[in-house]
Structure formats: structure tokens, C-alpha cells
Amino acid sequence: MAWLRNRYPLTLGSIAALAISWNIYVALNNDGIITGRAVTADQQPVGGATVVLSERSLLVAVPKGRATTNEKGEFRFTGHTLHHLYLEAHKEGGGRMPPKEFRLYFKGQNLFLEKPLVLEESK
């Protein structure tokens, strides 16, 4: 087993192990789920707000999904296939949040927002 200590199999084996581990991690976390909450500036949950998921190119924003928040202000998207996305939220008479950028490490990565989307009244 001395050949295992040789730098060639050691390096190439490490790269292979890293690639396999990464692919397993991707396979376990690419359901395309996005969950989060929408709140007001004073941290009150906003029910019935519309959250828009979109993808942007140089010129246009392409909407990829819409979700409505429940009474706790929670929303959920499933099956997205993006790695670079934008979320924006608005509610009739309840303010809006401009598009916020999110970057992911692979397409369809599950995203559980720790910080809520904050809707603010437009001035």
C-alpha cells in the first residue's frame, strides 16, 4: 500500500473525493426550494404580499415565479433552476421591497432566507 502515499494518487484521489463529495452535496440540496418571510419595517409579518422570483440579463428581468405570503408572512418557491436570482416583494397599500440579488453555488440550490424581506412604504 506504499503507492497510496505517493503524491500522484494522493493528489488525484483527493480531487476525485472532493468532486464526488460535492456532487453528493449538490444532489441532496438541489430541490429548488426558496423559503423566507416578508415583514414590515417594524418586523411585523406581512400576509398576502406577492413575492416575485426573477432572473436578470443585461437589459431585462425575466419573472420565473410568484408566491403569496401567508398570515405569518411566510412564502415558498419550489423547483427553481437558477443560480443567480432576484427576489422582490410588494403588497397593495403595504409597501414594497425592491429586487434583491441572491447568488447560489449551483442551479436549484435550496435557499432558506435567514433575514426576512422588508417591505417599506414608498415615499
Binding site: 503524491r7 493528489t11 443560480h83 443567480h84 447568488r103 447560489l104 453555488y105 449551483f106
Partner: protein, 270 residues
């Protein structure tokens, strides 16, 4: 003999090494943060580093496809270089009529740039029906004169008595190369592997000329295509450069000991 202190030389070498590393650190830093060289205040380390530019590269172009194409061509080139160069190198260690003229011819051919021979190379590849193929991309670099001389120098450093003994035992010439000379020339093989791999990996002009299908493009061609696709190129472009550089860098670091030994074989007689 008077001993001089080593530290001034080491200090100069350290400074020069750091200076030579600056472009590489700059590329690495930009790939991790998107800050270009003009950002103010200047910083050696990236502020707020992330790997998202690498993700952009991975998904913007068919990176894996280009990587596989480059790898296949490089494997063909490396294998062909070891076979053809070792055979040619062995032939040059033997005595035959016009050997000196042959060596001069090889050396003079080294002075002809590839760009000059690109049209005949294209026509030959077309005649062989190898346009738009892996073998066609590999063909012009399947044997390189520098590597032939690396093998020649390495074979000449092996005691002649070993070859004579093998010949007395009845080994044919090709088995002498395979069984006696190549196992004793690991450094020359490593040098061939590294040089052939790097030349093939970085080859841009020849694949650009003979490849028509986007699916057959290699990484350097992908880099030029990438420039036309991505609008904000700063971070992603440098991430692409790092991704293209990495395989060659790993190979060089792995085999650098043998590589240096291979280049210096035969440099001193004694």
C-alpha cells in the same frame, strides 16, 4: 576560499519571486472579489471574497465539455509525444549516415514558427479528413523537437554497456527502448509530459483554425467565446483564467522535481 553571506542573494531572490507572483495573485484576487487592479485603496488580499464568479463561468458556457475536449486532446498529445519522441531520441543516439545533418535539420526546424506552416498543416489535416476532430487538433504537436532532444540527452546519460548487454541477450531495438531506456528516463518522461501537456492545453491558434463545431472547442477557444457572452467580464473572466490554468499548474507542481531533472540531464558530463 572566502565564504560570502547568503542572505543578500536570498533577499533579492525573495523580492524577485514576490514580483513574479504579483500577476498571479492579482488574477486570483480578482477572480474571488471582482475588484480590478485600479480599485482604490489597493489591497493585496481580496475584500469580501466569494466563489460566485466560478459558478457563473461553470453555467455561462459548456465548461465541462471544453474541459473534456482539452483533456482528450492533451492525453493524445502526451501519449504521442512519449512514443514518437523516445523513438526519435533513441535513433539520434545511434550512429547512422548523415546523423549530423539530421540533427542540424531538427535544430533549424525549431526556428520556423508554427504560424508559417499553418497553411500546409491545414491542407494535410484536410487531406487526412481530420478537420474538426480530436486527432486533427493533436496532430501538429504529436512530436516536438525540444522533447526529442530531452530524450536524446537522457538516453545518452545511460551507460552504453546496459544497451550492449540487452542486445547480447537478444532484445530487439524497440524493446531496448521500452524495457531498458524508458524506465531509466523518468525525468525525461516527466519533462515530455509537462511540456506536451502545457503546449496542447494552451494551444489556441490551431484549434481555432480547424474546429468548426462548437461542441469540439477547447478551453482557450471557450475563453474567447466567453468574452463575447459575458457583459461584466472582470471577475468571471479571471475566474475562467484560473480554471483553465489549474490543471497545468497541478501537473507542474506534481512533476516539477522530475521536470527540472529532465531539463538538466546531460547538461554536465563527468
Amino acid at each position: 576560499m572566502r565564504q560570502y553571506p547568503h542572505w543578500p542573494i536570498h533577499l533579492i531572490l525573495l523580492f524577485v519571486s514576490a514580483l513574479m507572483l504579483v500577476p498571479f495573485i492579482w488574477v486570483l484576487k480578482t477572480s474571488l472579489s471582482g475588484e480590478n487592479i485600479f480599485s482604490y485603496p489597493p489591497a493585496l488580499f481580496p475584500r469580501d471574497p466569494h466563489l460566485f464568479y466560478y459558478v457563473d463561468v461553470w453555467y455561462t458556457i459548456p465548461f465541462l465539455r471544453y474541459l473534456v475536449n482539452s483533456a482528450v486532446v492533451s492525453v493524445i498529445v502526451v501519449a504521442a509525444n512519449i512514443v514518437f519522441n523516445s523513438m526519435a531520441g533513441y535513433a539520434l543516439t545511434r550512429n547512422f549516415p548523415a546523423k549530423r545533418a539530421m540533427i542540424l535539420l531538427f535544430l533549424s526546424c525549431m526556428m520556423i514558427p508554427f504560424q508559417v506552416t499553418i497553411i500546409p498543416a491545414y491542407l494535410i489535416t484536410k487531406k487526412l479528413a481530420l478537420l474538426n476532430s480530436y486527432l486533427g487538433m493533436a496532430l501538429p504537436v504529436c512530436s516536438t523537437i525540444i522533447c526529442i532532444f530531452v530524450f536524446k540527452a537522457s538516453f545518452e546519460a545511460i551507460p552504453k554497456s546496459l544497451i550492449d548487454a540487452a542486445r547480447i541477450d537478444g532484445l530487439p531495438e524497440w524493446r531496448i527502448v521500452l524495457r531498458i531506456l524508458l524506465p531509466l528516463s523518468k525525468s525525461a518522461i516527466a519533462t515530455n509530459v509537462i511540456l506536451a501537456f502545457i503546449w496542447s492545453w494552451n494551444n489556441f491558434l490551431w484549434p481555432l483554425v480547424i474546429i468548426r463545431d462548437q461542441e469540439m472547442q477547447t478551453l482557450p477557444l471557450g475563453l474567447s467565446r466567453f468574452l463575447t457572452v459575458v457583459e461584466d467580464t472582470t471577475g468571471a473572466l479571471y475566474a475562467f483564467c484560473i480554471m483553465v490554468l489549474l490543471p497545468g499548474l497541478i501537473l507542474f507542481l506534481l512533476a516539477q522535481k522530475e521536470f527540472i531533472a529532465g531539463l538538466t540531464t546531460g547538461a554536465a558530463k563527468g
